[in-house]
Assembly symmetry: C2
Homo-oligomer: 323 residues x 2
């Protein structure tokens, strides 16, 4: 292996000079700089960053814990985290936890041992003490954590309320909400947004429930349309549920948006792959990932977060499933 000593010998300078060139600190004359750089290139020398990391106790690595990268919400998030991390000189370790507490704990253990510089969490299956014991900066994304570390979320409540109001403004008389799983913060917040909108206008409504997952959404939709007739507007807790309800409606010959209007939530890319294209409450997924990563890096570098809740606006994108 090529060592820094070997580079120094070849360049005819001291090890300290080579070190100054590599770390870009301290004075080095232009001629020496050129010489050292050319020797580094010639010998194909790479500074030993693991040794550096041992010395400085940093790894330039960020752990990203998500439930499942194949869930359409997370690729864009992961992309944003990696883009910003890369720009700031950090690498991203990808972890799929499947919301399984044991799997998440395994990753947290690894991260402790390996000295990641920070963690972006999108699931929290542990007691809050577990996270604080890690002694590693954490930013939570899409889930509101406790106050020991900051969260970046979108405004689920207001997005849901606006979507419900839009359906009513577009002439919907028999409105329904298909909520996501209970006790998941975004799902609960969207439910409350819907409820407040319909109750403000004293309108009757129907509530269904589905997992954030296509197969279950279709199963629930079949049952739903069997029982409830005359529903002319549905606000679904996410785009996957909306896609399932749209498919089943089309299969049954229900005309969308003429007889039934549908709004989803998330702004997932596949909403545009569908025909009619899905009207949705778009979360700024990429921006949320970017804000969380910038915030985490600031905290890693010793700054205090200005606040503990970063709420980002969700906006309605009107497409083909509303009139």
């Amino acid at each position: 292996m090529v060592t820094i000593k070997k580079v120094a010998e070849e360049a005819g300078v001291s090890v300290a000079t080579v070190s100054r060139v590599i770390n870009q600190n301290g004075y080095v004359s232009e001629g020496t700089l050129k010489k050292v750089k050319s020797v580094i290139k010639e010998l194909n020398y790479t500074p030993n960053s693991i040794a550096r990391s041992l010395y400085h106790k940093t790894s330039n690595m960020i752990g990203l814990i998500i439930p499942d990268i194949t869930n359409p919400f997370f690729p864009e998030l992961a992309r944003a985290v990696e883009d910003i991390a890369m720009k700031c000189g950090y690498k991203v370790v990808l972890c799929n936890s499947d919301k399984d507490p044991e799997k998440e704990m395994n990753y947290l253990d690894l991260f402790k041992e390996r000295y990641v510089d920070g963690i972006i969490l999108t699931t929290q299956s542990q007691e809050s003490k577990v996270y604080s014991d890690l002694n590693v900066p954490i930013v939570a994304l899409d889930r509101i954590g406790d106050a020991s570390f900051p969260s970046v979320v979108s405004n689920n409540y207001h997005g849901a309320k606006k979507a419900t109001e839009l359906l009513m403004a577009k002439g919907v008389k028999n409105i329904a909400h298909i909520r996501g799983p209970k006790n998941i913060a975004p799902s609960d917040a969207r439910y409350h947004g819907f409820i407040d909108a319909v109750e403000e206008q004293r309108v009757n409504y129907t509530i269904g429930e589905a997992e954030f997952q296509l197969e279950d959404a279709e199963r629930q939709a079949e049952q739903f349309f069997d029982i409830h007739t005359g529903i002319d507007g549905i606000f679904c807790s996410n785009d996957t549920i909306a896609a399932g309800f749209l498919k089943v409606a089309l299969k049954r010959g229900i005309k969308v948006p003429e007889e039934l209007q549908i709004i989803g939530f998330d702004g997932s890319f596949f909403g545009e792959f569908i025909y009619p294209e899905l009207t949705t409450v778009s979360q700024p997924i990429y921006d949320m990932g970017a804000v969380a990563t910038r915030l985490l890096i600031k905290i890693i570098q010793g700054e205090k977060p200005e606040k503990y809740l970063y709420e980002m606006p969700a906006t309605i994108i009107e497409r083909g499933t509303t009139r």
Copy 2:
């Protein structure tokens, strides 16, 4: 920080004994094992894996270079790589190269410096010398590399040929292929599979072209349907192109599959979100990722690959866009 020495003191044993417990090698009595483990837990001690990695010159880290995690093909692949890596004690560093040679080179430089144990490559924008100079095991996925490292691909040619034959067997008279970008190996192989199938049966055909990207696919579809009338079967080079052509056909009131049958390629999850559901040539994306990762880890551990081309079967999933 809690050191191994501190643990040894507290447990009343030697550092070597603690080391044997941590590394699970050499004899330790059951009583001592219990004692050491409880002290490790009590002091919240984590063995310093960066130091270990410096010593052993391994990082237990795999670099995964993909064009873009938001491209629907890659989340499932990334998921497979991470699942297998995790099971074998490796972590995965996610890198989006955007097929940009400079970005890819940056990652390769980082990997060299950081001693990743191996790399899974899905883009190759550099001269082959760059890869061999890395001195790091590499497995290529979805792209056929040169013979210096093994590739895992699906059988694009045969999958395309079978899809084309299926369309003709289902009564298609005026067949078309929308090929993907030229000089991308899977796109070229699928084109040749189509050509050989139609020429074997001496059938007239039409060729179109689109990027692997929805917006361009829709634009090409609009032009295509303006020029070509009476096309009753289209084999598209991937599912995204197929989704674009399906959308435009439905928008124009063309009945699918009654008047027009469509087959895509990939088996992307969104094929089931669409109505009618997309018939597709499914690549075993997850299995390809798993095979590549297992192979890479074998090579990391000193085994020679048995062969340099691992070709996995692509199978047709018949859904709603064919009769």
